[in-house]
Every structure is written in C-alpha cells, then in structure tokens.
Symmetry: C2
DNA sequence: CTTGACTCTCCCCTATAGGGGAGGCTTTAG
DNA sequence: CTAAAGCCTCCCCTATAGGGGAGAGTCAAG
C-alpha cells in the first residue's frame, strides 16, 4: 500500500533528492518510517506534491508553502494567510518589474550612445565611454 | 601620494571589505603594496571604482566588468565587447520581465478566484483551493 | 612605550532549491 | 546465496557580492 521514496518520486515526476529535501524542510513528510528506516508515503503524498508545485509556480517559496501546510495540518483554513501572501508577492513582483524595466531603459540609452560614439575616439583614460561617459 | 585602503574606501563611499573583494576578484587591483603588505592605490583608483559601480548599475556582473577592464589593460578598446554584453543583458532582461509579468498575471487570476470562492467551502482534502483548485 | 587605529590573511556565513557523491544497510529477484 | 538496485545519513557544492569576526602585524601620536 505504502510507497517508498523512489516510487513516489517517479510517479510525481521528480527526483528522490527533491522528495528527501521536502521532508527535511517539512513541506512533505512521510506518513511513517519502515522498520529499517525507509520513508513510507500514502497516496495523498502525490496530491501534496502537486500542491507544492502549484504553489511554487505562482511564486511562493518553500518556506511559505510550509507555513500554509502547517496551518492546514492544524485544522485551520489557510485562505486568509494565502491571500495575504499573494498580495505581498504581487507587490514584490510589481517592484521587481519596475526595477527591471528601468534597467532595460538604461540599456536602451547605452545602446543609443554606443551608436553615436566613435570607438576610435574612446579615450584610454576612461575604461569605456559607453558605460561611463563623463560627459 | 598613495592612498591606503581605508582612505580609498572612505573617499569612494564604500567599505574596506568591498575594496578588498574587488582586489581579490581582479576588478580593482592596488598599484603596489607597501613593505608591510598594505595595499597602495593611486588617484585613478577612484575613477576605476566609479566605473565598476556604473557598470554594475547597468546590470553587468563583476565577472563581466573584470573582462572589460582586462581588455582595456591589454590596450584594446572594449567597445565591441561591451556592446555585445549589453545586447545579451538586454535580451535576458526582456525574458525576465516577461516571466515576471506572466507570474503577475497568474497572481491576478488567483486573486479573482479567491474573491469568488467561499472560504467555508474550502475542502479539507485539498490544502488550498485558491492555489490548487482541481477543477 | 604604549595605546588605539589601521591593516593583513583566513575562514565561515547569507539565501534558494536542491545536486553529487561517499560509505554503509536493506530488499528483492534469480 | 549473491548481486543489483534501493535506501539511509552526512557532507560539500552551486551563484552573487560581499559581511562578520579572529588573530596578528603596523603605524602614528602622546
């Protein structure tokens, strides 16, 4: 009935290392251990695994996912917590996107400058007048 | 005439650790060492430092910056190399921005779903129906 | 002469999500 | 019975740009 780690990994389409790691950080604990210490998982482990991946796919970190699961295991509905997490992640994403877009714009400026400048007029005193123009 | 590391760091507005690190990875080598092993820098170290920061600010990594500086120290004009680097970094940025925007869109979907779903109808069998709806 | 401020090298630590491999049991098939 | 395949724990490693601190040498002023 119970799966060992290799079977779970294969059915989940992942590596044994990953499942062991999930056990270690507490997002996917085995139901029990065999007498010889082997991790034994039930069928629901596959659902759990799928949940972890779904949560990762929307940008949550394993630490946050562990907290969601912990709430669930305490019998609470983690909805409010999840909505809050998602809101914060969204704000982080917005900031990150804005940063990258600004950087992208900066690169466009550099590209225009590079087209305007003549490589032969590149003063050896400076390292690169494209990046550091000093007027 | 020659500055020691503390003075350079202060005038550059950075930390001694950073200057030492730049020496170690080869982006900002001291002109020489004193008898007792102290790093000694000339005035141009400040320009170099400024260049490194300018290059970092447009998204280049220290490893790439080192290559630009190495080219320069070989007497070549690194313009072509820099333009190439900038082009590649721009492409990376575009891809990254697209990824983040897709993730952001995904979060918007989740947010809409969370508003539609009733937390009380959250089935205990699933961990969180906002993230992993199974339907 | 001594104290305090600098400086040196060396080593560990940060976050993330695992990967690689060693050395040693356990289980299963033939 | 034996060999292969699985499994265990433990430890190091990845990339980035440094930060923290130990222990020891150096330099200036009082």
């Amino acid at each position: 009935m119970a799966m060992r780690i290799g079977e779970l990994a294969e059915r989940a389409g992942t590596s044994v290392k990953t499942i062991r790691y999930y056990d270690r950080i507490g997002v996917l604990r085995p139901e029990e251990r065999s007498e010889s210490g082997y991790r034994l998982y039930g069928e629901d482990a596959l659902d759990r695994y799928r949940f972890v991946r779904a949560a990762q796919a929307v940008g949550l970190r394993l630490g946050e996912i562990r907290e969601i699961i912990a709430l669930r295991d305490l019998g609470e509905t983690p909805c409010a917590f999840v909505v809050d997490l998602i809101g914060r992640r969204a704000a982080e994403l917005d900031a990150q996107i804005a940063d990258l877009a600004a950087l992208r714009e900066e690169l466009r400026t550099l590209d225009r400058r590079a087209r305007r400048l003549n490589p032969r007029r590149c003063e050896p005193r400076l390292i690169c007048h494209v990046i550091d123009p000093e007027i």
